[in-house]
Structures are given as C-alpha cells and as structure tokens.
C-alpha cells in the first residue's frame, strides 16, 4: 500500500503546478475506491461512477484548498464524495444539504493549537481500524458508511440489537483510546 503522505503530496503538486501526472496517480488510486465504497453502500453502479468522476474532478479544482494538517487526503476526498453524492442523488429535490456541510466544515472557532491535530488523528484512526475484529469492522462500516441506525445494522447482519451495540461500543472505545492523549 502507498503511504499516506504520498497522496497528500500528490494533491499539493496539483495545487502548485497543475501536475497532470499527479492527478492521474490520485485518480487511479481513489476513483475506483470511491466507486467501490459507494456501491457497497447500495449506490447503483452508474451513479457511483458519476460521483467518483466528479469527486476527483473536484479534487483537481479545489486542490489549493487542501490543508494536509487538517485532514489526510483520504478523509478530505471522502467528505467531497459525500457532498457530491448528496447533490447528485437529491438533484430533483433541490437539497441544500451539501451547502450545510460546507458551512460546518469551514474553520470554526477551534483552538489554534489544533493545527496538526487532524493529520495525527487520521494516522491514528487508520492504525486503530486495522486492529478491529472483522465483526467490529463490518458494524462500523454499516454505521459509518451507510448511516444505518443500530436497529438497522442488527437487521442487516441478522444479529441481536445488543450484539450490535456492544460491537460498536468496543470499536468506538478502541478508536477513542487511540485518540485519548491527543486532546
């Protein structure tokens, strides 16, 4: 697997010099993953393809706004994909939700010493995710990717609600434990 900082560097290269080669590398890595993730969460293939293309095109356009101290490439790209999926899926209903996310993601009155917090957080969460059991990972996927309620996760996996709650509780406490000394 390519180390994280390489992806960050590719986005920075696009921002600095419109580096098409860097874009091709980013596209080849992330576009098929955005598509795969969306399809796994039940998005039809055609829509997933469209969102994946638009996501990478947005990375190209907004590369100058990428701040590697706030979030890693993967986290930044996943929020872009989320907003575009909302826009595209809810086109007919005049949804304003992606604008709401943009307002929330603007810099709030956070403490100035949090400048590197985001990058470090992302590294630790990635590491912690690889330590989850497959059962915990699947429950996290359903809750954090598909936004399912605990009740619906239980239905999907055909396991009792209490089991879902304890798997997610264990997973969350593991993730939180890894972030503890960060705040």
């Amino acid at each position: 697997m390519v180390p994280l900082f390489d992806h960050n560097a590719l986005i920075v290269a696009i921002a600095r010099s419109g580096d098409r080669n860097a874009f091709a590398k980013l596209f080849d890595h992330f576009a098929p993953r955005v598509k795969g993730l969306l399809m796994k969460a039940g998005t039809p293939a055609e829509l997933a393809e469209e969102v994946a293309q638009e996501t990478l095109l947005t990375v190209w356009r907004k590369a100058a706004l990428f701040d590697p101290s706030k979030a890693s490439a993967g986290t930044w790209i996943s929020t872009i994909a989320r907003n575009l999926r909302i826009d595209i899926a809810r086109r007919e209903t005049r949804s304003r939700l992606s604008q709401v996310y943009e307002i929330i993601d603007e810099d709030g009155p956070e403490q100035p010493d949090m400048a590197v917090w985001g990058a470090e957080r992302d590294l630790r969460i990635r590491a912690a995710m690889t330590e989850l059991s497959p059962d915990q990972y699947r429950a996290v996927e359903l809750a954090f990717l598909e936004g399912l309620s605990h009740q619906d996760v239980a239905k999907q996996l055909a396991i009792p609600l209490g089991t879902v709650k304890s798997r997610l509780r264990l997973a969350m406490s593991h993730l939180r434990g890894r972030l503890e000394d960060l705040r």
Binding site: L4, R20, F23, A24, F27, F30, P32, R33, V34, K35, G36, L37, K40, A45, A48, E49, A52, Q53, L56, L57, R61, A71, S72, G74, T75, S78, A81, R82, I86, E92, T93, R94, S95, R96, L97, S98, Q99, V100, Y101, I103, I104, G108, P109, E110, R121, D122, I125, R126, M129, V140, A143, F144, L145, E146, G147, L148, S149, H150, M172, L175
Partner: protein
C-alpha cells in the same frame, strides 16, 4: 459555547455519512455550528470514513484520468443564485427559505423552515419566559437545538447550544426558562401528540 447535551454517537455518525433526513440533519448542524466539542467528534467520524475509503475494495472505472481532465476544459462555471442572509440566524440556515413568525398561542410563536425533500418538518419556536409548552408525546422523532434561552423537562435543563434528541418513548412537558424565555429549532417526524384541551387546540397548527 459549550453544551451539556450533545447528539449520540449513532446520530453523529449518521450525520457524518450524509444519509440522515435533511430536516433532522439541519437541526444537528445547528448544534454543530455552536459546539466545538461535537464538531471535533464529528470530524473523527469523518476520519473513520476516510480510513474506510483507504481500505475499500476498488471497482474499475469506465473512464481514464486524462478523459476526465479533458472534460474540465468545457465545464460550465456554476454560480449559486445568492440572496442576502437575514442577520442573527444560524449560518447553516442561510441556504433555506424561512416563513414569517406566527403566533400559535399565548407567548408562543412559530416559524416554518422550508426544507424541500425532507421527511421531517422543521420549524423555529419562540416561547416567552415561564411558558409551559403543552404536555406531548411523539409517534416519531423530535430533535431540537436551543438557540437562546433555555427550557427544562424531566430529562434535564437544555440551554443555548444544547441538542435534545427525543424519540417516541419520550413524553414530556417542557417548561421555558422563567427569565430568558427560549428560542429553538426543531425537526419532527411522524406526529406530535398533544394532550389536554390546549393541546387539542394547537394540534392543527403544528401540522405545518
């Protein structure tokens, strides 16, 4: 602003995925705009999504990177039609159209927030000092963010910035702060069922 009542992990995770009903999401966003601690929690959840993206199974694209960039040259520039935002409102409400305040009882006024495509109905509620809102229960969800002042019910005191997450198991009689009054924004799914004669009078009005 630091709140005492915050969204559950379940709610914040659903918000972070973008799959929450837009009306419910807007009330969560109003809380997030005011609460740095909840924002930080939500960003950790976005970080989980980033980690899931890195670990995702790739599915082949039907187009190459160079073809996507070629399209960029003739992409139209989209400009959002802007309108000057009303001052004093949460920023997350700026993209939406709000109705006028209308009185719905003594000391209580309501204002509709038009959220197209949402299942939940969204409204702002303003109640004078000491007003007791009619005793009610829900058939669905009632999520509330307090914008100013405070109210209190059997689950605690909710002040500016707090998020109140009630479901169909809750039955309550909120009492508005005797000095400050209370302004809040709420999203409701299903029906709000008022009890008593005052409640029956209010029932048709809150259907929006």
């Amino acid at each position: 602003m630091s709140a005492a009542h915050r969204p559950s992990d379940e709610t914040l995770a659903a918000f972070a995925t973008g799959r929450l009903d837009e009306g419910l999401a807007l009330v969560v966003a109003t809380h997030l705009e005011r609460d740095a601690s909840s924002r930080r929690r939500m960003r950790s959840f976005q970080s989980v999504q980033g980690a899931l993206l890195d670990g995702a199974e790739p599915v082949a694209m039907s187009i190459r990177a160079t073809d996507v960039l070629a399209r960029e040259r003739d992409a139209a520039v989209m400009v959002e039609p802007g309108h000057s935002p009303e001052t004093g409102l949460p920023r997350v409400l700026q993209p939406y159209t709000l109705g006028p305040w209308r009185p719905i009882g003594i000391g209580i006024a309501m204002r509709k927030v038009d959220v197209a495509g949402a299942e939940a109905r969204v409204f702002m509620l303003r109640a004078g000092a000491g007003v007791a809102l009619p005793h009610h229960k829900h058939s669905g969800l009632e999520w509330t963010t307090i914008l100013s002042g405070a109210y209190e019910h059997q689950y605690g005191r909710y002040a500016a910035g707090d998020f109140d997450e009630a479901d169909s198991e809750h039955e309550h009689t909120p009492r508005v702060d005797p000095v400050e009054g209370c302004t809040c924004i709420a999203a409701v799914t299903g029906d709000v069922l008022f009890q008593g004669w005052l409640g029956r009078l209010l029932q048709p009005l809150v259907r929006l």
